[in-house]
Structure formats: C-alpha cells, structure tokens
C-alpha cells in the first residue's frame, strides 16, 4: 500500500466519521453544499481540462433540476425515475448541441459562445413556461406524502451528507478513470491539434462527444441532487450564465488538471461566499460577488493553473529537480 493510498483511505474514513463526531446542522449544511457543488465542478472540469470550455453547464444543471422536479410535481414520478430521465434529457441536449459543434470544428471562442447560448436558451425556456415552472420566482418540489425514500426527500442533514459524500467520491472516481484512459490521450491530442489527432487515427467528433456526454450527465445529476436537497430551485441558482461562469471559475481557482482541484475550488468559493455573507451581514448583497470576481480575474492573470495545481507542481518540481526546466 503506497502512502498515497493510505492517505486517501484515512481521508475517506475521517469524512465518514465526521457527522458522528460533529453534529452542527449549519456546518453539515455547508459541507453538503460544498460536496454537491464539488461534484458539479468536477463534472465541468472533466470537459474543461481538455480545452472544451463550456458555458452551457448551467443549462445542463437546470435541465437536471427542473425535469426531476416537474416530473415529481406534475406526474408524480419518483426522483428515482425522474433523475435518470432528467439526465437523459440533458444528455440529448448535449448531443444536439455538441454534434454540430464538433462535426464542424467549432472550437475556442465559438464553442464558448455557442454553449453560452445553450444556457441562455434553458434559462429562457424555464422563464417562458412559467405556468409550469414558476418562472423566475422559483419552484418547490411537493412534500412527499408517502415514503421518503421513494421521494428522495430527507430532513436529516446526516443522510444528505452521506449521499453527497458518495456522489462526490463517484465523481472523483470518474475523473480518475478518465485520467487513466486512452480517451484522455486522445482528448489531449485533440486539444493540441485537431487535424494532427485526426491524422493519427483519433475519431475527433466521437471522442469529444463522449467526454461532453459524460460531463453533461454528471452535471444534470448534480442539478437534480441540489434540487432534492434544497427543495427549492430558481432559474438563477441552477441555470443560466452566472451558474456556468461560477462552475468555470471554481474549477479554475482550484486547479483544472488535478482531480481534487474543483473540490478545492468549491471549498474556497463557498466558504468565502459564506464568510463574506456573515462578515458583511445584511449589507453583503453584492460584496461577496465583487470580491469573488476580483479574485477570479487575479487568478486567471497570475495563477492560471489554480491553487492546488500550482502547489502540486511546486512539490513535484522539488521532488524531481531534473524536471525543472
């Protein structure tokens, strides 16, 4: 057993033990939020690390949250079916938008703006169908009358903590799996030079679609989970451009190219947002985002690899001086 493994297992054990030792509801709530958003940010970074910068993930998240909630409220479909259905919807959306983009070599700025349009569309559709979705006022899934398990609604923070923890771990495993797969090398080749990759026998469109699909499915799942946990969703909190930007930024602040990077990003952004909210009290409206935005600009200018990414790089360089060039 390598020290890395030992550390990972010790970390996991500590996280599982945590709610039994510390039962503060507010702290658990923050932890659950961090875990859910970490999962969302990880799903974004699966795609983002290969240069596929998508601002459409707010759209996927919105689809995930709203389809689940709408199926539950209007058709009384359990989230156990609703969540896969919402993920399927997000997947179809990802394919419909992704295919022309990848087939016709829409990259860089164009790709960002097309995906930006996607989150715009989802936001508009949610607002336009306000008879069903409650529009910009938000939407609340009905309280379960029958089984809580069937409705996936728990009042207990500890239960949610474990759900979020396991989902987050699954997210990390997916990240790792992709990191170790052939697909990663194919995607890296594509992000360097599409034509050269194609000439080397990489199916550019298929590889990109695959990674986009995985990322979109996971993001929709995160959205559905968030909806089930918070029991309230509004177009601004789960979809639209600001949510997409938030994902991008958290992933970048933490570090795109390391598996725990998005998690570190989520910890930093959520804790700082909470800290600013409490610190500034009732006058905080806007201040948290102001500091947040300034930090992000500074990060992108001075630390483009993110906090964790830079730390990892430093440690590696110290261990292997020969690599420092």
């Amino acid at each position: 057993m390598t020290p890395r493994y030992a550390m990972a297992i010790a970390g996991a054990a500590a996280m599982i033990a945590l709610p039994f030792v510390h039962r503060d509801a507010y702290h658990l709530h923050i932890l659950v939020l961090i875990l859910i958003w970490s999962f969302a940010y990880t799903s974004w970074s699966i795609m983002g690390r290969f240069g596929l910068v998508s601002l459409g993930h707010g759209g996927f998240m919105g689809v995930g949250a709203y389809v689940t909630a709408l199926l539950w409220n209007h058709l009384e479909v359990s989230p156990w079916i609703g969540i896969p259905a919402s993920m399927a919807a997000a997947g179809v959306l990802a394919l419909v938008v992704g295919y022309p983009c990848f087939r016709f070599r829409i990259t860089g700025h164009y790709f960002v703006l097309v995906t930006l349009a996607l989150s715009g569309i989802v936001l508009q559709v949610i607002t336009a169908t306000r008879d069903y979705t409650g529009g910009s006022l938000g939407y609340t899934p009905n309280r379960a009358t029958g089984s809580r398990w069937l409705a996936l609604q728990f009042d207990d923070k500890t239960t949610w903590y474990f759900i979020a923890l396991s989902v987050w771990l699954v997210g990390l495993l997916v990240w790792r799996r992709i990191d170790r797969s052939m697909g990663r090398y194919a995607m890296e080749a594509i992000s360097e030079d599409e034509d050269a990759a194609a000439a080397a026998g990489v199916n550019v469109t298929a590889e990109k679609l695959k990674i986009t699909l995985i990322s979109a499915l996971m993001t929709a799942f995160a959205g559905a989970l968030y909806c089930q946990y918070q029991m309230f969703i509004s177009p601004d909190t789960v979809s639209g451009i600001s949510v997409s930007l938030q994902m991008v930024f958290a992933a970048i602040v933490g570090g795109l190219y390391v598996s725990l990077g998005p998690t570190v990003g989520a910890v930093i952004t959520i804790l700082s947002a909470e800290g600013l909210r409490i610190g500034f009290g009732a006058n905080a409206v806007g201040w948290d985002n102001l500091v947040y935005g300034v930090l992000l600009v500074l990060f992108i200018i001075f630390l483009p690899k993110g906090i964790l990414g830079s730390v990892v790089e430093k440690v590696k360089a110290r261990r292997m001086p020969s690599l420092k060039s």
């Binding site: 022309p100 960002v112 703006l113 930006l116 607002t127 451009i241 806007g286 201040w287 300034v294 992000l296």
Partner: protein, 293 residues
C-alpha cells in the same frame, strides 16, 4: 427583461418595422463586440455589463445631477470609452499571450465584478431616467420616438465607425493590425496604442448603446443579462469579427424575436431565435457569410 418584452404589438407590419428598429440597436451592440474581437481577438463577455454601467451613468447624470439628455450622453460615451480602455489595460493586456480561453474567462470575471459593483453601489432597484418620449401614430401603427431615435442614432454611430475605419490613418492601421498581428509591429506601428484605441472605441459604442437603451428600458444591475447573450449569438451567427455579417444577423434576429413575439409570448420569440441559432450552427457553422468548405 419585462420591459424588453413589452416592445411588440399585435399587427404584423408593425412587428416587422419594430423588428427593423430593434435590429438597429442590436447591430450597434454587435458592432462594438465584433470590433474588439476582429482587432484584438478577444471576446468581452462583460460587454453588456459595460452598457449597464453606461445606463447607470445616464440615470445619475439626468436624475441626480439634472443634466439635460444631450449633455449627459457625450459624458457617458466618454465614461464607458474610458472604462473599455481601462478594461483592456488592466485585464486583457497582461493576458495577451495567454490562451484565448483565459482572456475570455477573465472578462467573465469582470462581468461578476461589474454586476456586483452595480449591486453594491446602486442597489437592486429598477431605475429609469424619467424621460418619456411621445408615440408616433402612423395609420393604425404606433412607433415610439425612443425606438426611432435609437435606430437613427445606431445608424449614425455605425456609419461613423465605418468612416473612421476607412478614412483615417488610425482606422487604417487598426484594420491592418487585424489582418496581421505579427507584421504590423515590424512596420513601426505601436500595437499597444492601437489596442487601447480600439478598446476605447468599443467602449464608446457600448456607451452609445447605453444612452439609447436607457430611453426604452429601466436599468438594474442584471439588465445586461437580458441583451448580452443575444448580442453574442448575433456575433457568432454573423461570424465573429465579421462586421457585415453581424449587421445582417442583427436584423435577422430582431425580426425573429419581433415576429415570434407576435404569435405568442415574447420569451418564445427569444426561444425561437435561440433555436434558429442552433439550426444555423448545423447549416453554416462559421457564420452567415462564410463560404462553405
């Protein structure tokens, strides 16, 4: 948003003409963005937020300092032009050699900063300049003077930019640098100066748009989100950096929104425009005027 949705009335011709009038304004917004992209190769995600700041500028100058509209407008245009130059100097210039995505995301950060700055400084209330222009009745149709004025001013602004780009030495240099970034500095052109001028010009166009938008819509910190995405779509549909393509795309979009809004809710006009955009991505991925490969 709501204000943006109230534009349209029931008659088809009226909707078509209103679409043209809206198109003028959208074309102005798209022109500024296209200019920045074409010359500096950067997309300002925060472009609509610059317009929002300009609208607040108009509100404060007119409602708080009681300046007349015609005196406030040039000040605001100047203000937003300075803001554009500052944006370039502080954020874009350090990132010029970074991957394009980083530049784009940095301006996304500026979007957050500007939005929350407006929230902190001006509050989240809806504000308007309190100028209500009369409505022109033409037969059965009604057009507001505000919209006619914006259309005319947009056209004047666009012609002004066109003349500047083709008739002046600086404009010619800007066009040259957009064609070849590497060679122009070797020809003794100060690229940094030109970038600053272009950014200021892009900002000035945003300022002009702000002066016109404030006549029709209330301003609040998130007003940028109601026309920002549509501006990006127009630029992509016309081909990023392609001025004529952006101009045509603005009118196509405005007509779709206008006519879509005629048959049902205006939001569905937007949804229709977005859907049209996605379909166009299949047919003409590199923009309306691009040649097919």
């Amino acid at each position: 948003m709501q204000a943006f949705l109230d534009i349209f009335d029931i008659y088809l011709l009226e909707a078509v003409i209103n679409g043209i009038l809206l198109g003028g304004l959208l074309a102005l917004l798209a022109l500024g963005l296209n200019l920045i992209f074409g010359v500096i190769d950067v997309t300002w995600i925060c472009y609509a937020e610059l317009v929002m700041i300009g609208m607040y500028g108009m509100y404060y100058l007119i409602q708080v300092y009681h300046l007349p509209y015609w005196a406030a407008a040039p000040l605001v245009i100047l203000l937003v032009a300075l803001l554009g130059a500052a944006l370039h100097y502080l954020v874009i210039a350090p990132l010029l050699t970074a991957p394009p995505i980083n530049q784009l995301l940095a301006t996304g950060g500026v979007l957050f900063v500007l939005q929350s700055f407006a929230t902190v400084a001006f509050g989240i209330d809806f504000r308007n300049v309190g100028i209500r222009l009369p409505v022109l009745a033409f037969g059965e149709m009604h057009f507001s003077y505000a919209r006619l004025l914006s259309f005319a001013a947009s056209l004047v602004g666009m012609i002004g930019v066109y003349l500047f780009m083709t008739r002046t030495f600086t404009g010619t240099a800007i066009r040259a640098i957009s064609q070849d970034r590497q060679i122009m500095p070797l020809m003794g052109v100060d690229a940094r100066r030109l970038y600053i001028i272009t950014s200021a010009l892009g900002g000035a166009l945003a300022g002009l748009a702000a002066c016109l938008l404030v006549l029709q819509y209330d301003v609040h910190p998130f007003v940028g989100l109601s026309f920002g995405p549509i501006t990006f779509l127009i630029c992509v549909l016309g081909g990023l950096g392609n001025f004529i393509g952006g101009f045509i795309a603005a009118f196509v979009f405005a007509e779709i929104i206008s006519l879509g809004g005629l048959f049902s809710d205006l939001e569905w006009g937007y949804v229709l425009a977005f859907a049209f955009f996605i379909i166009m991505m299949f047919i003409r991925p590199a923009g309306l005027l691009a040649r097919r490969r």
